[in-house]
Structures are given as C-alpha cells and as structure tokens.
Amino acid sequence: MSDCHDCGNCAVVAGPLPAGRSSARSHVVAIIGPPNSGKSTLFNRLTGLRQKVANFPGVTVEQRVGRARTRGVREVILVDLPGVYSLNPRSEDEQVTRDVLAGEMPGIPKPDAVLLILDCTNLGRHLVLAAPILALKLPTLVILNMADDLASRGGKVDTAELAMQLGAPVALISAAKGQGVEKVFQFMEGTAGGTASLSAPKVELPVLQDIPKCRQWAQQVGYGAAYRAPAPPLWTRRLDAIFLHPVAGIAIFAVVVAAVFQTIFSLAKPIMDGLQALIETSGHWIEGALPDSVIRSLLVDGVWHGVGSVIVFLPQILLLFLFIGILEDSGYLARAALIADRSMAKFGLQGKSFIPLLSAYACAVPAIMATRTIESKRDRLATILIAPLMTCSARLPVYTLIIAAFIPQHPLLGPLLGTQAGALLGLYVLGFAAAIVTAKVLKSSVLKSERTPFVLEMPPYRMPTLRSLGIRLYDRSKIFLHRAGTVILTVAIVLWVLLHLPLHNGKAPEIGQSFAGMIGHAAEPVIKPLGFNWKIGIGLISSLAAREVIVGTLGTIYSVEGTEDSAGLRHALQNELSPGGAVALLIFFAFAMQCMSTVAVVRRETGGWKWPAIQFVYMTFLAYVCALATNEVVGSGVLKVIARL
C-alpha cells in the first residue's frame, strides 16, 4: 500500500482491511444514513468499487470497505454501513453500524470522520439521525442526497443556513447523477489533512433517547434552514394505484413472473447457441493447433469442454440478474413484498422474509446474509434454513440442459408461455413450495414464536439507471467467471485425471475402468433406484462442490468418450437417461444442498455446525426420497401421456 501515494485515483480494495498495516496512517471515513438514502450509490461514486445497490431499504447488510479516489498524501478508506434510523440497534445489520462507529468492529479502525447522507426529499424525518451522529463529535459532512428529486418536485433548502444550524458543513448532491460529489471529495481531503472541525450547533442537540424530542429538534432545524418539503411523489401514487390494485396488481404480479421466465428461455437461447458454437469451434481450433498429446487431451477434453459447458450459461444468468435488478431498482420489489406478506404470514414468516427469499433465486449466499434485516431471531433462522431451497441461478444450467433435452417445446399459454419455460417455472414453484412448507413445519415446532410485526418503508418508484444495472451485471459476470476459473476448473482437471488413470499398458483406460468410473460404479447401487447410472453418479459427486459443476463434469465425460458433437450434451443425455430418471434428476437438484459456499455461510451466520449439518441432512434426504418417488411415478408412463398432449 505504501507505493501508491501518487496514483490515488485508481486504487480500489475489496473486502476487509488488512488490519494494522493501514490503520496507522490511513484516514477512515464512515458513510452513515437511514435505509434507502443512497449510501451505497455514493460509495460507488467515491470508490469506483462495485457495491450492490438497490431501491430497497436494507440492501447493505455488512460493512463494505473501499479506498476513495482522493488526491492527497494520506489514503482515505471508506466504510459503507447498513442503514439505520437511530443508533439504538434492533437488528443485526444495525448492530454492525453501531459497532463500527464505536470502533468495536474487529478489522475496522474507529472512523476519523463521518459522511452522514440524508434523503432531502424527506429531510424533516431524516434529520433525526443527525442528532446522535453529531453527538459523536467526529468531523461530519451532512450530505443531502436526491437534490434532483427535491428540485423537480418543488422543494428547497438553504444549505448554508442548515450548516449554521447543525454546526457541520452541508453538501447538496445527487449521488445517482454525480452532481455535487466533488464537495464530498473536498471534505475528505480536508479532514485527511486535519483542517475540518465541528463548530457548536446553533440549535442545541436534544436528549438522544427521546424520539419525539429528536423529531422536534429536526423540525426546528429544518425550519431554521427554510426547508420546504417537496410535493408528494405523484408518479409513485399513480403507479401504486396500478401495482397495488386488487385485481390488476395481482395480474401484473403474475404476468411479470411469467414474462421473466419466458424471456430467460427464449431471449437467452440464440445467445447461448452462439456461445456454444464459439466454444466448440475454438476447441477444434486448439485441437488442430496442438500435437496429439496428453496435454492436448487435458486442455481440450478437460479444461475447454468442462469449463466451456458451464460458461455457456452466463447469458441466461445475466438475464435473470438483469430482471431482478430492474425489479429492485425500480422499487417494485417492496410492493411485491407487500403483496406477499399475507401469504408469507400463513407459513409463519413475514413479508421481510420475502426479500431474502427472492434474492435466493439469484444466489443463496447473499440471501442468507440479507436475513440480517429480520429482527426476530427465530424468523431469521427459519429464513436461513429454507433459503437454499429457492431455485438459485446455479441450478439454472442443470435445469436448462435437462429440460431442453427431455421436454418437447409446445405453446402452453399462447406466445406468453411455452412448455419448456412452463417446466422451468414449475421447478421454481416447486422449490418455493418446499421452502414454505419447511418454514411452516419449523415455525410450528422448534422455531415457534410470537408473530412479529411487519413494518416496511415504501421507497418511491425510480427509473433504474443503466449505470446501476451495468454494475450488477459486471459484478455477476466477475463472480461467475471467477467460479468457472477456480472451482469448476479445478474439478474439471481433477476429473480429467481420474478419468485417465490408472494407465493400462501406458494408455488411458476405458471410462468404466478409470478411477472416476470406479467411483461412479461404487455409487450406482445407491442412485440406481432414482434412475441414474454411474456416469450421472460421477456428476452428482462432483456437484457437491457447486451445483453447476455437474454440467461441466458431464461435458468432460462425454468429451472424453468422444460423443461430443454440435448438439453436444443434450443428445448424449437423451441416450443416457430415461424420462423418469431425467425428471428425477431435476427433482433431486431442486431439493439437494449441493453448495459448499452455502454450507459455509450458514455456519458463519448461525455460529456453528449444528444448523448447517441439520440442513444438509434434511435437504439430501428430501431430495433422495422425492427423486425416488418421481422416478417410480414418471417411469410408469405418466410422461408419455403428457407428451401426447
């Protein structure tokens, strides 16, 4: 870190600070504000670090650290904190904020300065948080965000007078549009140089524990600064009249969900076919360019086909994240939580559980971390335990492959929904059903508790920005390709080795006689009742690391076997699996907890091995029994009847 003093414009760090080394010299600035006030958007502006932002209260559940792009001698470390309404924590994410500010968070030095970010379209209420923050006596910049909204809706505020009232500098900015952000840089460079300090506030700070007094104080300060609240957000009210309409609201909810699934299939298909062709052509090209050797086989059959067969699914996963991103950023997701609350309550959960569960459709790991916003410990644990049953994006490659191979494409609901998209939607519903039934069982037995109230602030609707959506997709691609480059690459290489040993007379054995084959054969008695043969068995074992690995594994196996052609895996699978076995495989993947990252995050969030162990055993058992039943039922001819329709 010592060698980048003069290039402070480009440096970015992710994850926790290397404690000790930097804390001696670097200047630590915390970003604090109420939920949905734009902390993370500002953090992205200041650091260039890609931090997840959405138009939903409580998106940042863990402190994030990044290096600010300031010009100065000392480096400035920014800490982005979960949103709080006060410094009296009620949930885990609010506790994080309190701990960091008090200097009690391991690995994060006590902040030297504070950026207090408030939504100036609702300054009266947001100013309440200024009281406890200013009472900390740290150099503080009060940032009034959403200046563009304030102006367009006819509100105004005298920032100079507000600064006098508070005894702290004030900056009016729009973090989303980048207006006024230079004032924030100036402040940080000033405090890093030791020039800024607080002056005495004109209006004396209230007793912090007394909320009505704090609100009165905020009122008085706002009045002093000639604050005029903007007109109500008319568009939000108009849109709510549609999205929360008793009939239209439900219909739109259903159409949105169906359209997302249909588009994931139909729109992604040509892109994926193109990518598939590209990977195969380049595979042949590499094969032609290299002499016939063990290295060539490892490179082409092992790495290229193994990793390539997973990378093909990147467009589809990005499309899913694009849709979730639009729903989150627009503010619709909060309405969806509202619509879902009544149904969630029937299963002992609440609308707030809906948010982590919805993000579990993308990935269970951030979803489990997002449960920190749930105040009730038992509700939180129940949500953690059921989150991996939601259909995460790692299941998508497996589902798509098997559905495309075994379900004939017919229109189901006109052009809106075809049989393949319908089957995929069915699998998503299945995962959701398993999750809520499990929740019901948990909440009426071991995790029984009082109903906790559902309190959710509704954000105004906003047009999602290309910048924010772009950051999400960039982030997702990076994570996905990183996994393809590490976990999946490792599994592909190990698998290739296991497929080529032990040598027979100096030559690689038949797959059946290889180490991988032996492992598969050993597993066969257990999985045969499910309709899986030993090759699928190898795939299942390798997918314990991560679900999508099975696609890469099968890609490698069939590539080694030489059955890989332009139609690829799909044809190979059609020969390999009976219809019963194929559906059973889908069901198995719907329920089984094949994801080491999830096990690790559950262990961390629940503080021990007990709950992840229970969860793993439960989900594997559920997967096995349901796959067994499916193979029996479908194998007896049900699918033939459906196919004839």
Binding site: Y85, S86, G124, V128, R215, A241, G249, L338, P453, V455
Partner: protein, 101 residues
Amino acid sequence: MQLNVNTAADAARNSAFAPKTLAQLGRGESGVLDHLDLPDDIARRLMELGFLPGQEIVPARSAPGGGPRVYRVDGSEVALRRETASRLILRSISKGDNRKT
C-alpha cells in the same frame, strides 16, 4: 412509552362513531396519533419511522387481498399489517390540533 389515559378514555366516551385506531380509518381519511399500544422496541421503531404522538396519518392503498396497508406519515409511506395498525390509538378529535410538518 407515554400513555395519555385521559385522552384515550375521552375518546372512547365521546366518539362512538369516530375511528379509535388507525386500522379503522378508510383510505384517504386522516387521523392524529395519540399513542402506541405496542411493546417498547416495536413502538420505538415505528416512532423512528414517523409514527409519533400528534402526527397526522393518512391511510393509502393496501396490498391486494387484505394484506398490509400503506400509511402516509411524516413525508414517507410505511406499510403496516392490520394487527399493528389496530394498536395505534388515534386522538378523538382529528381536526384542529394537527401538527403540520
């Protein structure tokens, strides 16, 4: 939690027709909050969100099928379940002593 016994009792006596809790208000009507009949930690959270005694509250849309209702309070919109709204007790006279914000 401060509990204004007199006001609550007066409200019960004087206005048989006037809504007594937030849950009884219809969409677009308005009421002034008197006190929160809820456990302390939940009451604090609601107060932080703007549900303070003396504050005017206007119910807006509810989720389809009788789910939580959105309430306009202190410049923002907050959704509450009916069971929570029924513990927010209103002042008996909703006109006249509104503390405008």
